[in-house]
């Protein structure tokens, strides 16, 4: 059972790490709990007893389809990449960590020497290997394990006052933080967020922390919108009707334009649009509406993934200087994200963790994530897998 009997934080303290259980994907809907050997950490690595892993849309795609877009599973792969834990052993040469340190795990390993890495944009490193992604082969195994080794430089100490769950949220928060650096919001500005899932709501929370005056969340799910407004993430929410497939690309664009017009006239009437629009769904109709809803001189940040190509109203870009800003994962965000949690700058964000399961019940967890609700019919926003008390 999720929620309910579980305490809000996983069992603390250093567990015994003589065995490792991993949730390993073998194919679509074929997720098995395997026993894996516990290896000592190599030079520059540390061993982490994973306390908590949050599940994300890409994990869900792999679970359902055995692939995520173009990336097809080629060998058994442990899922999960939003994780935090406690150091159980350190490898040779690791001086900044010690056994017992609580850490957030940054799940991407970059090369450090290419032009992009040197420019501080390591999220775009062509040699990047990301945990639980089938993009590279051999696949870098994910964090749905009870113990794993990882290069120590990617293990970030969690500040006092920051929980394991918050530390796990640092991964999606990092995407949001990176997006806000690429498309910043200034205090007093207006923000439109398409998609009221975990990423969308973190976007709202960060915009609020930055001092945005008007934060409007948009989604097709009425419960999520209510949650976003009631919990204070957004200043206003809008429920989009789920529309049928448009008859033609032109119809689709016109429908998107009308959606945008409605949003602007209702929620940002003093301007011709929103200062920044964060698109967190990856759905073509929302991407199009995002363009129309940005104000002249504004920006649209593309966070959501899912559409490889879309018809966009380029006249908006050209005549109104609306920029399309790309966002792919994150770089150099963990320290700032952890600091935000440590300083209490994102109050209420822990409420995004709606659903909790032990690792043994990981299949149930994915099913709940897929349905958008748990077995009791409660809304799912963020599911976490962890060593929760039973």
């Amino acid at each position: 059972m999720a929620g309910g009997p579980f305490s809000a934080k996983p069992i603390d303290g250093l567990p015994v790490v003589d065995s490792n259980t991993a949730a390993v994907l073998y194919g679509p809907q074929d997720l098995r709990l395997d026993n894996r050997p516990v290896l000592p950490p190599g030079p520059g690595e540390a061993q982490v007893a994973v306390k908590v892993t949050g599940l994300c849309g890409s994990d869900l795609h792999y679970y359902i389809h055995g692939r995520n877009g173009d990336f097809v599973l080629r060998e058994p792969m442990a899922l999960g990449h939003e994780a935090a834990g406690i150091i159980s052993a350190v490898g040779e040469g690791v001086t900044h960590l010690q056994v017992g340190d609580r850490v957030a795990i940054e799940a991407g390993i970059h090369c450090g020497s290419c032009r992009l890495c040197k420019a501080g944009r390591y999220n775009l490193c062509p040699q990047m290997r990301y945990a639980a992604s089938a993009k590279t082969y051999p696949h870098l195994q994910g964090t749905l394990q009870t113990v794993m080794n990882h290069p120590a430089k990617y293990l970030h100490r969690i500040p006092e006052g920051c929980t394991y769950e918050q530390a796990s949220l640092v991964e999606p928060l990092s995407v949001v933080l990176h997006a806000s650096r690429r498309a910043p919001v200034k205090p007093g500005q207006s923000v439109l967020v398409f998609g009221a899932g975990a990423v969308g709501m973190l976007t709202c929370a960060l915009a609020r922390a930055t001092g945005a005056a008007n934060i409007v969340a948009v989604d097709i799910d009425e419960r999520r919108i209510r949650f976003a407004v009631e919990e204070g993430f957004a200043t206003a929410g809008h429920i989009l009707p789920k529309l049928p497939r448009p008859a033609s690309p032109e119809d689709g664009l016109e429908s998107a334009r009308q959606t945008a017009e409605k949003l602007v006239s209702e929620y940002s009437p003093e301007s011709d649009g929103f200062d920044v629009v964060y698109e967190c769904t990856g759905v073509a109709s929302c991407i199009q509406a995002a363009f129309y809803a940005a104000r002249t001189g504004g920006k649209v940040a593309f966070i959501g993934m899912g559409t490889t190509a879309a018809m966009l109203p380029l006249s908006s870009a050209v005549f109104r200087e609306v920029d399309l800003v790309g966002v792919f994962r994150f770089c150099n965000t963990y320290a700032d994200a952890l600091a935000l949690f440590g300083a209490g700058r994102l109050p209420g964000v822990e409420k995004l963790v709606t659903t909790r399961y032990s690792l043994e019940r990981v299949n149930e967890a994915f099913e709940a994530l897929k349905r958008g609700e748990d077995q009791s019919g409660r809304m799912v926003i963020k599911v976490m897998i962890g060593a929760y008390e039973n």
């Binding site: 018809m311 966009l312 380029l314």
Partner: protein, 415 residues
């Protein structure tokens, strides 16, 4: 009884291809204005649209309109309240013809408390009135006439080393300069630059990029003579000609297939230029507005780089998001210019812009403006030569007419 105000010729558009030379009264400049004798006007694609169709997209000519907006001239009179402008009668100036409202959020400098009414993004002024455009009504006349009154803060002194025709290039150069600023062109030292579209704007983008220290500049076009100009006159490092579809190639069955073909073409271009797949350009200036070119611009950009959308054309286009958003290739919108004229004129006068003096390829008297438009439309001069920039009115005013306080005029030969 004051003497009748002198008449001056203007090329006035009454409808599609209906251009008439009319003589209009020269008006006294109002407060804050100067009267300018226009010495050269360059013609551009938007002027051509108005000439050919009586409209430019959604903007329909509703009353007779003087076209032209790329101009330079000489001040013949100053209106009241212009003393602080620093301008004087006889001063050579380039005209910035977009007149912002000075009051909206884009005009008023935000946040720093200054009283400037030319904020950093006044090109986006909510109430912009652009001379020669039918977007607003009543229309404001453009510069294809001999005399015009214009706000003094939109008149920019021309360096002594700069001819009138070169100064008239300040307008399209301002567009390119604005694009380079929006694309953060100077943030990477010695970037690899790609320009798609080797018309006047594209060629200026090539020349500017060389002047700003690009490590290489590559130009792409369908027209080999334009690419030859880019190589021989501007001095770009590489060119690539987009081939016309080969005979017998089946037409693409849908937009997705066009996208795939453009992606393949982009890979071919990278290979031909000796670049690896996954590599690409630091800055791409897309100067055509054609959907396929915009797609190629994205495929040819490096991860983490920027595509400046300078060309205006297709209102909607199929955009590959996996190649743009997922690679953090940003699409930067570019609309006209703001605070660019001084730097543009300085560059034009500096000698740093290669090929500038050869960009004006055809010249016509004001009376032959329709011939000028026909030349621009064909893309080829009367003897088949390449059209880069057509100019009107150059070298045909030999008199400098000055209006004295008592209403009489005196004239002198221009040097």
């Amino acid at each position: 009884m004051s003497p009748a105000l002198p008449l001056h010729p203007a090329a006035v558009l009454h409808g599609a291809k209906d251009l008439r030379i009319e003589y209009r009264e020269q008006r006294t400049p109002q407060a804050g204005e100067a009267q300018v004798q226009i010495m050269a006007t360059g013609l551009c694609g938007s002027d051509l649209h108005y000439y050919t169709h009586g409209r430019n997209g959604d903007f329909v000519v509703r009353s007779p309109l003087v076209l032209g907006h790329e101009a330079s001239g000489i001040i013949t009179a100053l209106g009241p309240s212009t003393a602080s402008s620093g301008l004087r009668v006889g001063q050579r100036v380039a005209l910035e013809v977009g007149i912002p409202c000075r009051k909206c959020r884009y005009c008023v400098e935000m946040g720093n408390g200054s009283s400037s009414t030319k904020g950093p993004r006044y090109n986006l002024c909510e109430n912009m009135r652009f001379c020669s455009s039918a977007k607003t009504f009543p229309h404001l006349d453009g510069t294809l006439q001999t005399s015009i009154n214009h706000p003094v803060d939109l008149l920019h002194p021309i360096p002594d080393s700069c001819s009138y025709e070169t100064a008239a290039l300040a307008e399209p150069l301002a567009v390119v300069l604005h694009a380079s600023r929006r694309a953060n062109a100077t943030s990477s030292p010695n970037p690899r630059v790609l320009v798609i579209g080797a018309g006047a704007v594209g060629l200026l983008a090539c020349s500017l990029s060389i002047a700003l220290g690009a490590s290489t500049v590559t130009a792409i076009d369908i027209d080999e003579t334009k690419l030859q100009f880019a190589r021989d006159v501007i001095g770009v490092d590489d060119t690539w000609q987009v081939p016309l579809p080969q005979k017998g190639t089946p037409p693409p069955k849908d937009k997705e297939e066009i996208l795939r073909r453009n992606r393949d073409m982009a890979e071919q271009i990278l290979e031909d230029l000796g670049m690896r797949i996954g590599d690409g350009f630091d800055i791409v200036y897309e100067c055509t507005g054609v959907e396929s070119c915009i797609q190629m611009a994205i495929f040819l950009a490096k991860p983490g780089s920027r595509v400046a959308l300078v060309g205006m054309g297709t209102p909607v286009g199929l955009i590959p998001l996996s190649a743009s958003a997922l690679r953090e290739v940003d699409l930067i919108g570019v609309f006209r210019y703001a605070n660019c004229y001084p730097e543009a004129l300085s560059l034009l006068g500096s000698g740093k812009l290669r090929g500038i003096h050869k960009m004006v390829t055809q010249r016509f008297a004001l009376e032959d403006t329709d011939h000028a438009f026909e030349t621009l439309r064909r893309g080829r001069g009367d003897h088949g030569e390449l059209v880069v920039k057509v100019m009107v009115g150059v070298g045909h005013q030999t008199e400098f007419i000055s209006h004295l306080a008592d209403g009489t005029t005196e004239s002198a030969e221009l040097a």
